[in-house]
Symmetry: C2
Subunit: 639 residues, 2 copies
Amino acid sequence: MEREADLKSVKIEDSFWSERQELVADVVIPYQEKILNDEVEGAEKSHAFANFRIAAGLEKGEFYGMVFQDSDVAKWLEGVAWSLANRPDAALEKRTDEIIETIEKAQQPDGYLNTYFTLKEPDHKWQNLQECHELYCAGHMMEAAAAYYEATGKDQLLKVMERMADNIAAHFGTGEGQVRGIPGHEEVELGLMRLYHVTGKEKYRALAQYFIDERGQNPDYFREESKKRGWIHWNMNPEDHNYNQTFAPVREQKKAEGHSVRAVYLYTAMADLAAQTGDKSLISACDTLWDNITQKRMYITAGIGQTAKWEGFTADYDLPNDTVYAETCAAIGLVFFARKMLSIRPSGHYADVMEQALYNGVLSGMQLDGKRFFYVNPLEVNPGISGKMPGFEHVLPQRPKWYACACCPPNVVRLVMSLGKYAWGEDPEQNTIYSHLFMGGDAESDRARIHVESGYPWDGAVRYTVHPKTQEPFTFAIRIPAWAHEKKVTLNAAALQNAEIKDGYLYLTRSWKENDIIELSLELPVRRIYANTTVRADAGATALMRGPLVYCFEGADNGPLLQELRIPQDARFTLQEIREKPLEGMKQISFAGIRVHSGDTALYSEQRPVPETVQMKAIPYFAWGNRGENQMKVWMLEI
Amino acid sequence: MEREADLKSVKIEDSFWSERQELVADVVIPYQEKILNDEVEGAEKSHAFANFRIAAGLEKGEFYGMVFQDSDVAKWLEGVAWSLANRPDAALEKRTDEIIETIEKAQQPDGYLNTYFTLKEPDHKWQNLQECHELYCAGHMMEAAAAYYEATGKDQLLKVMERMADNIAAHFGTGEGQVRGIPGHEEVELGLMRLYHVTGKEKYRALAQYFIDERGQNPDYFREESKKRGWIHWNMNPEDHNYNQTFAPVREQKKAEGHSVRAVYLYTAMADLAAQTGDKSLISACDTLWDNITQKRMYITAGIGQTAKWEGFTADYDLPNDTVYAETCAAIGLVFFARKMLSIRPSGHYADVMEQALYNGVLSGMQLDGKRFFYVNPLEVNPGISGKMPGFEHVLPQRPKWYACACCPPNVVRLVMSLGKYAWGEDPEQNTIYSHLFMGGDAESDRARIHVESGYPWDGAVRYTVHPKTQEPFTFAIRIPAWAHEKKVTLNAAALQNAEIKDGYLYLTRSWKENDIIELSLELPVRRIYANTTVRADAGATALMRGPLVYCFEGADNGPLLQELRIPQDARFTLQEIREKPLEGMKQISFAGIRVHSGDTALYSEQRPVPETVQMKAIPYFAWGNRGENQMKVWMLEI
């Protein structure tokens, strides 16, 4: 089975990503630490560290914040762990150890850990799984614990979370006297699988499996739970079976429904479990849900979730560009899901979508300076309407500051800081090393150290230098994106004939010699993409992509009224390096386009709008919204 | 000054409208009467007549219904009045007289009339103008009283409402001890102007003027009112100054804002008052608001109100087709506004918009069998999304039954039954009779009886036969629609040379002879209409019109996935008479169009959708949704 790389064995030194990792380490993580410590003037009160100190008996006070406030600490901890794996920082590690110490003190003697319930509603533990996120917080803290152990070798938090997992296992299950509960927000399944991966303990895999198998067995579980306890927290509708994927047992779910982050967290855990167990019915369910998302419910940016109302899925082919939700966290969840699908079977399709999400729907969540973040990643923005008019309130034309949203930014942090796991994998049984994504740096395994140089995504040349550690032959599998129609591969400067490309991967098996060099050269022409004509929102339009990057048009480059612009069928695209900050160094697409304009000011007229040739410029989608409020559009009518 | 015709002097005998008037008289009015009497099995309880009987002391019981339940009776009464003016019905008139008798008994000794407050909250009268619709109900009852007097000559209800108007005048105003109140839902202004027109009493005009002038003088009026009384009814936001047009004094309002029905009711009263007084600043305000609506905020169907959230206006050029509100009542209100603008100055532009609203945004409100009604009149409907998904809940793909909505159906009734007022006008000072709309029948005035035959809107031949009552010359002004590029006019079969067409009207002045015949022949080609390129929603698209009719495409005629269809720039349109019910007799537009279709099932692909020629058919917009649930689209991409 293909397994993701141990993060400590990968070092990213990449012209594109290193800069972003440094931004996260230098700007985002320290800022988030200050937020959690309530040290940022004017920011919304967090109190998240304080809650733990109070629960630990180190401080007097009361709990403050959301019922899931603990998860902010967990997400930060996971980000710190991956950051330390990439770039040691003794001072940060020391502060983190102290926080972990506090967390352990906040844990109850029976292993229970949740500051909200410990401090505020001690008699209400485990009574409101639908609304109260105890299992969600636990799941995130398990992920953090596993990451911190992987990064530093320290197991204090891991032990804390093993005790919490044991507490959960004692309480929930199908056994005598146990409660057949399921979480309202999936995440604990992921966390338990992570615990299983680092500890190797079957019981955590089994508990993850229980939560996955139990979901949807009793679609009325939350209604019954609500009736039994007689109190509410948020007043969520316990009859909404789509929202948290309880409408059917997971193996019978045919469509991705409900809250999109919940959904992809669940599917990620399902895929992880299925890859471990080889459970055919579960693999089949993962395939069905993957296909439904990627073939019917996904934006070209790999954003998912079409409506703000339940932050989730609506219907097949319903992909409005201007009222879209496409939460940054959901695109990140799709990266997680794709990564686990790769472990089920290494098919380039999963890596293609993973890359598409990473470079577009995920990266667009963060401002280029690392200081502001989008929850919602629209494909069309119209100032005066977006962020303002009914149905568009959630579609902000500018990234808001961190403190207004506690969920997406830490998710970006942990993904950007753990990229090595997504870029690299290994299948020991098949004796194969996988390169899933093109990123400069080094990846180390028992078989070899592989050094990569790359100008990706701006250019398509990737150079792998192999430093084998064994004389035995092994396979090096390099993903070839499905969009790479023109490519050249050389081994030690000799063209590779007859190299096997299977399901999106180039498989090279040989006895590797020191300094064997594979050079991959992908042509990166501008590609016109058309949506399936079943998609109403993109009718008549085309979107431009180059390599993994989706491009978009902004008012800053193209003037007002972007809806007047057309891409001629015979337009010839040229690439230009942008010389002005903040997009300096990126490549923009430039071409002679058409602007049609009304002949008069009448609202309705018999006069067909008059075309004129204009220069049009498109920039990478992830970089939009960095030059002030302006109109933005991904899909453009073709003429 | 141009004045609308006395309804009793106009008889509609028209191939298009008579059928609809009979439907209203035979089906809609009797059904509504049963509803108000709670005689329809399974319908929502109305209790509206019962409330009056209880308030009159004729029956025991309690008030039931909305705070504006009385207005349902008023609207029905007005419809009955206009119906009696068209078609006498002794039994209906007798029942109506009895209801009026009851209404008089329900009136309080001081003239106050409102069953909600009389029965339910007698101590709260006049304390909550923002939410409680007392003045709104009064306005509708004034309109009913004036209509019933005009239709039957009976003044019982008129006297009742004069006493109510006097009660209002005593309470509200700028005088010592008076309250400077304004209604939360404009309507009383209209009602008072109607009272003024039938009674000639200046005091009612003055009271209407007070309410018009006072609006927006104190934008905080509703907040202050709310603070003073300390109780709420609906919990409406008293700080929302746009919703009910209190953001500025009416003469300073530059844009149509807020709830669209409220807005156009206000503007109608303003225009009516301005026409009477010649007040230049008020005329100028009407012009500004008219232009803002018709040149920046109106759908091609003359529907207005772009959002469901406040059932009203959003921003200039923001005209989404699938989330539109375009309430039937708002289009009717626009007809009212247009009609009063004609009295300010007879310009064809007002009549053109009036006609556009009548044949499209108004008529679409009623199912062809008169049994179901739309509130919301979308320009695009997608089953599975419309009426179902977030932001589309209000856009029903099928007309709901009457009882689900009490406001639009009676508004359709009163407009359809009083068409003569909109079709005909007279300016005694200018010695001119105006024909604003083409409808078969007879119009009688002191100067002449004019007989009209017409196959409009299906064909453009209109034949006027003049039966003069005077030897003195007078002017007959016939509106020539702005869209009528090709037309022929003959007087007694001789082509009219040099006839003066001024501002959309053909003015014919002469000593008319018995049986003088004017024949108007308008070419009715299919016209392609383009929205101003500032409108995002219609980019690249065209809509088809013929005469006053907007056309649309339905799945029933064109198959699924209407977004795949394109209208070729060189398409040649042919007209066909539809032979199947329920659209029998209507003319459809048929042409060779293009359907583009994805080459494969991929969601995104580099393959441009493949075009094929298909037969496309468009039907009149007002007739959509009469053949089961299916997709519908007005604007189609042009290729």
